[in-house]
Symmetry: C2
Subunit: 453 residues, 2 copies
């Protein structure tokens, strides 16, 4: 199989470059036609690779590319999820080469979507072609490639709910995350959830002169600051009653596993120009931003923010406050706890309104699941070392949706790097990573099939 | 004297209306010509009233109108300060009648500057005319009427420092404040000072994704909120070490005097739509906003403040923080204490910069001073009751400047009302107040001369 991949390396790359030339920006209606072209391109390639039922499923937004290959109903089925839409490329002037005219420099492909997620999605298409050509399909496979991931996957849940039969599978594999380094393979085993709120604190019914009223009325900014400050204690634990009740505490073993990930605090601090880190007592930096829930103010505003000095006591102050959640917290539960608590700590001298925004559920892939085990073995085969299980601090809400609607676990087997500059100018994807993905995926199928026996 | 005033009432009012027709807005260069016209108008009227040396002193900005009448060098001298410039009138659409076309409605003159400060300044001009016409000038008088009060009196100090001889006097009287009510005369005995700062808190060197970094790095907004919250204790005392060291604690008697001012907490709360007040323990609302120093955040900003949700940890957060000062705090001392303290409470995980803006010194007129006594007696004569001494929470920096440069105390004998809407649309000044001022001022001269014997 490795030979086939090497012999076709140049073609694989050139096909990806063709896909990258299509500016399928989902956020901007001006690119609607290109979005459809990208969908057609993938449908076409899946067909050529030997898939059946290759088609576009219409949605209220952009179509979902579907294709499948059922070798034998008795074999386990892998459902591959990816997305063909990309982030907007602006600011264009910060790109060293045009975002939709891919170039290869020092073994990296530079283009919008090179990594996120066209490059990683296309690894699966070419791995599938390879298995088909070599008559080594150890599993059935289904592809579900959407075109709205960068705009919140707004129509995906509707599609999934309407097609639970069609999407029946034993594991979902997504390559839309990264590895720690090219010589430190890793598999993402968890994602944090989210509970996001906007709060409004109202003091006097109009802006007041701070000379004539200062000291005698509650200043909504001072009050908001006091309320926000009270949400963490001196150990940076969150003080909302019940906040930690359902938090899944990791075992010593799991924490030890995590700690194997190479990490330099000095490099971390240098990269962010920090003289000191900051976080919950009793946890390492890697744990603080992955397996622990957090509360951050994402924005705050009130009063006079222009040049110079204005002596005003504003009528209102605002903040956007979000919490990252971990298993087994739920956004619904935390949203309710936050709202109740924040209203309860408001002094009688102000009025407080809490408006919940969207939420998302945390997910975790147990390292003892067949999916994780198969990914770990496959990576060990191709990288020559066991991958590190990594809990990511970010959120991919669809993973929880797949679990709840389809009842299937997801494996987050990504081959990108943090340094790939996804969502930024000069996004790129290493040819090493692209090829390693194509090599590793068939072995994932193989190990998964064996584990299912 | 009363007869003369009554006989000339209509003329006095008409002359004021002429002055009010001149749009002498100092903030807008477009009105430069009108500003000069207003200065010329006053110089003219002072001359006609019998003043000598009536002239305009050039400054780097608008001229200062000066005039004097030295009856007898052995008599005490009163220095009258006022200003002929006015606030911009916009938003024009909120005026019921054009701001520079004065109209009289239910015994009130409506126009920009009607009260602040053309009306109150012109009371002094007409009181002077009256004393001259009646050959009853118990004191010498000097007029200093500037044209930049509404833009910070930027050139006044230079003029005063250059003319200390010319401005020699025994008391300075300013009518640029208000009374509690037409049946509750009052004299302003104190003003608060100011120390104003902009603070900047920097965490990571760039905005970060709150999912990938949340919990592991200091969020500058959360840190800023904690720092601000720590500036007040549970009794709303300010926690800056040494902050209260020089605060002048009023005597029981003085506080009792103040408490005579009619005040309804319910009305106060209703007017501001507050369910509860808020302030320093151990002091009344009237005391909190006048004789006590305060700390207020006048503005705060950082992170994402647009529509919807963005999960960012910003690199920086900012706030504008000001303190109102009371005798005998100095803005220099407090500015230094604040700066040192605020930097000292910053955790090592952030960088803090404190930029001091302008300051102003607090002032107080002792109720036992000749100036206050004379004002109190004069008001008692015309209102039939003793005026209430009132400490105002606002700042008029020039009063402290007069004291330090000329060594002369100021009496703040104002005849306006809080309801006169100065600086706002439909500014007005009651004819009752205008005439009461003209009646009261000569009696102030009389009593002051007697007290100086």
């Amino acid at each position: 199989m490795k030979d086939y991949i090497n012999q076709n390396k140049d073609r694989f790359i050139n096909e990806l470059l063709d896909l990258l030339r299509i500016p399928s920006v989902s956020a901007d209606p001006a690119f609607k036609g290109d979005v459809l072209k990208a969908a057609e391109f993938l449908k076409q390639k899946l067909q050529e690779a030997g898939a059946d039922k290759a088609q576009l499923f219409e949605t209220a937004g952009n179509p979902i590319v579907y294709a499948e290959k059922i070798i034998d109903p008795s074999l386990p089925t892998v459902l591959v999820y990816g997305h063909y839409d990309v982030q907007p490329a602006d600011p264009y002037e910060l790109w060293d080469s045009p975002p939709f005219e891919p170039v290869i420099k020092d073994e990296k492909i530079y283009a919008r979507g090179a990594c996120d997620d066209k490059g990683q999605t296309y690894m699966h298409v070419k791995a599938f072609e390879t298995m088909m050509q070599q008559n080594q399909m150890p599993c059935n496979v289904k592809f579900m490639i959407e075109g709205e991931e960068e705009v919140g996957s707004v129509n995906l849940a509707t599609f999934v709910k309407a097609n639970t039969e069609l999407l029946q599978s034993d594991v979902i594999v997504i390559s839309d995350t990264g590895m720690l380094a090219n010589d430190v393979p890793s598999v993402t085993t968890g994602l944090r959830g989210l509970s996001y709120h906007e709060v409004e604190v109202t003091g006097p019914n109009r802006d007041l002169h701070s000379g004539l009223y200062g000291g005698a009325v509650a200043n909504p900014i001072n009050v908001l600051c006091k309320m926000i400050a009270s949400l963490h204690d001196e150990n940076n634990h969150i003080t909302i009653p019940g906040f930690y009740d359902n938090v899944d505490e990791l075992s010593k073993e799991e924490r030890a596993e995590m700690a194997r990930a190479p990490f330099s605090l000095d490099d971390y601090k240098k990269a962010l120009d920090l003289s000191d880190i900051h976080g919950e007592a009793g946890y390492s930096t890697m744990e603080r931003n992955s397996i622990r829930p957090t509360l951050d103010v994402n924005g705050i505003w009130g009063g006079y923010t222009g040049e110079g000095a204005k002596t005003v006591i504003p009528s209102k102050a605002f903040a956007k406050i979000s919490m990252r959640l971990v298993p087994h917290q739920t956004s619904e539960e935390i949203t309710e706890l936050f709202q109740k608590h924040f209203e309860s700590i408001a002094p009688p001298s102000v009025k407080v309104v809490v408006k919940p925004h969207h939420g998302g559920e945390p997910v975790v892939t147990p390292t003892n699941s067949a999916g994780y085990q198969a990914a770990a073995k496959a990576m060990e085969d191709t990288f020559g070392k066991k991958p590190v299980p990594v809990r990511s601090g970010g959120s991919i809400p669809i993973v929880a949706m797949f679990k709840s609607v389809l009842g299937v676990d997801t494996v987050l087997m990504g081959f990108g790097l943090d340094s790939d500059a996804i969502h930024s100018p000069n996004e790129h994807f290493g040819i090493f990573n692209f090829m390693k993905g194509i090599e590793t995926i068939p072995l994932f199928y193989k190990h998964f099939a064996e584990l299912q026996k």
